[in-house]
Every structure is written in C-alpha cells, then in structure tokens.
C-alpha cells in the first residue's frame, strides 16, 4: 500500500515536471544577458575564458557566497568529527615501497597540474575550484599511499582563512576604487596573456589555495581518528 502511494505520488511529480519543462523551448535564446556575456565578455573583463568572466566578474559576489558555503561545510564537518580529544595514534602498516614511491613521485606532478589549472583560469577551461580540487586529490593520494602522513591542521586553516581575507579585501579595494564590490581595479592588459584580466587571476589563485586547503582539512579530519 505504501509502495503504491509512493509510486502514484512520484508519477504525479514526474508528470508535473514534464508538463512544466515541455513548454520551454530547448536551446533558444530567451534572455539577453547570455548573449551580452558572449559578445562583450572579453572586452569588459579582459578574460578570454567567458565562464571565468561570468564567475568572477559579473557574478563575483555569488562566488564569494559559494566559497563561504564551502568554508561553513568544512567547519561543520570538523565540528562533527573532531571532538577536541587527542587523536588515537594507531599502529600504521607501512605500504609497499613501490606504492609509496609511486605516490611520492606523482604527488608534485598532480599538485603542479592543479596549480597550472587555477593560475590559467582566465585563459583555459578550469579555475580555482577545479584546480583546488585537483591539488587536494594529490594530497588524497598521499593520505592513501603513504599511511601515517598528516597535514598540519593549523597551517591549512591559516591558508584558508588568508584566502578568504584576501578575497574580501580585493572586493573592498574595488569598492574603494570603482564604487562597487569586486570592481576590477587592476589594468586589464592584453587578452590571452598570463598577466591580464585585472584581479581575476589573483582571485582564482586565492580560491585555488582556499579550496585545496579546505578539502585537505576535510580529508585529514576524516582519515584521522579521535577518541
């Protein structure tokens, strides 16, 4: 009986969704703002990756909110997992030398790849969030492949706090120079150069460090054990 009711409810929900979506034509330009971004994005922001110009310039304030949510999530996870007691120092079984050597060899390469992605966020696909996640996956490799290694929690927290502070400070400097939050006050330079697009690369590097240290902190909290 309960299953029948839930199937009927799900069917009604699916029917409603299909009816709602059917009226929207697929792939048709309905708002002018999307066209504006595609046509004027490069001139306005100096960033050749239009996605980046939307994320950090036109919608920069939303990105600040996104970063804040990630920060709150990391803190909540830490509050749940880390109860303030001392960590159990368990006996760790060393991994085989082949595995740990391979992990140590791959770690800097993956970290470099992540850094490349968030430094070139305004030129090529990717950006702070993607690059930070890739850098954090390098740390995950170390957590898995070389058991017993830990990150220094104080340093990761310092790094992510500094990242947030620099983001907000850049926004406030824009407010002071140009009259609105996250105004692009640095020179835009030539398009397609590494040093172009004003504050966008700065913000993406900051976001990359912040995301990487946040996820590294989450992973460290998960892999460690408290009483």
């Amino acid at each position: 009986m309960r299953k029948l009711v839930s199937i009927i409810l799900l069917g009604a929900l699916a029917f409603g969704l299909v009816q709602a979506v059917k009226k929207i034509p697929f792939g048709v330009q309905k708002t002018k703002v999307g066209k504006y971004y595609v046509e004027r994005g490069i001139e306005d922001t100096g960033s050749s990756n239009i996605v980046t110009s939307v994320v950090l310039n036109y919608r920069g304030f939303d990105t600040l909110g996104e970063v804040t949510i990630l920060f709150a999530g990391a803190i909540a996870l830490g509050a749940v997992l880390f109860t303030g007691k001392k960590r159990i120092e368990r006996e760790v079984y060393p991994a085989s030398p082949i595995l740990s050597t391979a992990c140590k060899f791959l770690f800097p390469l993956i970290l470099l790849f992540g850094a490349y992605i968030f430094i070139h966020g305004h030129l090529t696909p990717g950006g702070g969030f993607q690059g930070g996640a890739i850098a954090a996956s390098a740390l995950l490799l170390i957590f898995l492949g070389c058991p017993g290694r830990k990150t220094d929690g104080r340093k990761t927290r310092l790094m992510e706090s500094l990242g947030g502070i620099i983001f907000v400070l850049a926004g406030l400097l824009g407010l002071a120079y140009g009259g609105f939050f996250l105004f692009n006050f640095l020179p835009k330079g030539t398009v397609n150069n590494l040093f172009s697009a004003g504050i966008i690369p700065v913000l993406y590097i900051v976001i990359g460090f912040k995301v990487a240290s946040e996820i590294a902190g989450i992973l460290d909290n998960l892999f460690g054990e408290t009483e």
Partner: protein
C-alpha cells in the same frame, strides 16, 4: 552522437544499481561511475569547466570521502553496527 546515447544508458544503469547493491562499497563505486560518465557527457556538450569540476570532485574526492565513511560505519546493508 551515438556515443552520448550509450553513455546515458550506462549512466542510468549505474544510477539504478546504486539503489540495489547490498554491499555499500559497490554502491559507492557505481556512484563514482555515474559521476565519471556525467563528466564525459559535460565534455561532449562542450562544457569543459563543469566536466573538470565533476571529474575532480564527483569522481575522485566524493568517492574517497564515501569510502572512508563506509569503512568507519558498516559495509553491508543489513549488518548491525558493532
């Protein structure tokens, strides 16, 4: 775009099998497969930014976090927590 249809069918199969696996480790791996196929589909739809985020976060980091969670709680669905 025949490859896209094959990938979508595979993705739906993986997503349904997540619900039916009794071994939660298998369910986590199937979820990772869903994320991986989603990232390939994003790439085929010419959204490389989203594809990168999905591959790094959905397929790698979320899977690792879920595996640690399974390891710390219980592995099979009907098992009691000791």
């Amino acid at each position: 775009m025949a490859i896209a249809y094959i990938l979508i069918i595979l993705m739906i199969l993986c997503a349904v099998s997540v619900v039916f696996f009794k071994d939660l480790l298998n369910a986590v791996i199937a979820l990772a497969a869903v994320s991986l196929i989603a990232s390939v589909l994003f790439f085929l739809l010419q959204a490389p930014d989203v594809a990168m985020a999905e591959a790094a976060i959905g397929a790698a980091l979320t899977t690792a976090i879920f595996i640690v969670a399974v390891k710390k709680t219980k592995r099979y669905e009907n098992e009691k927590i000791s």
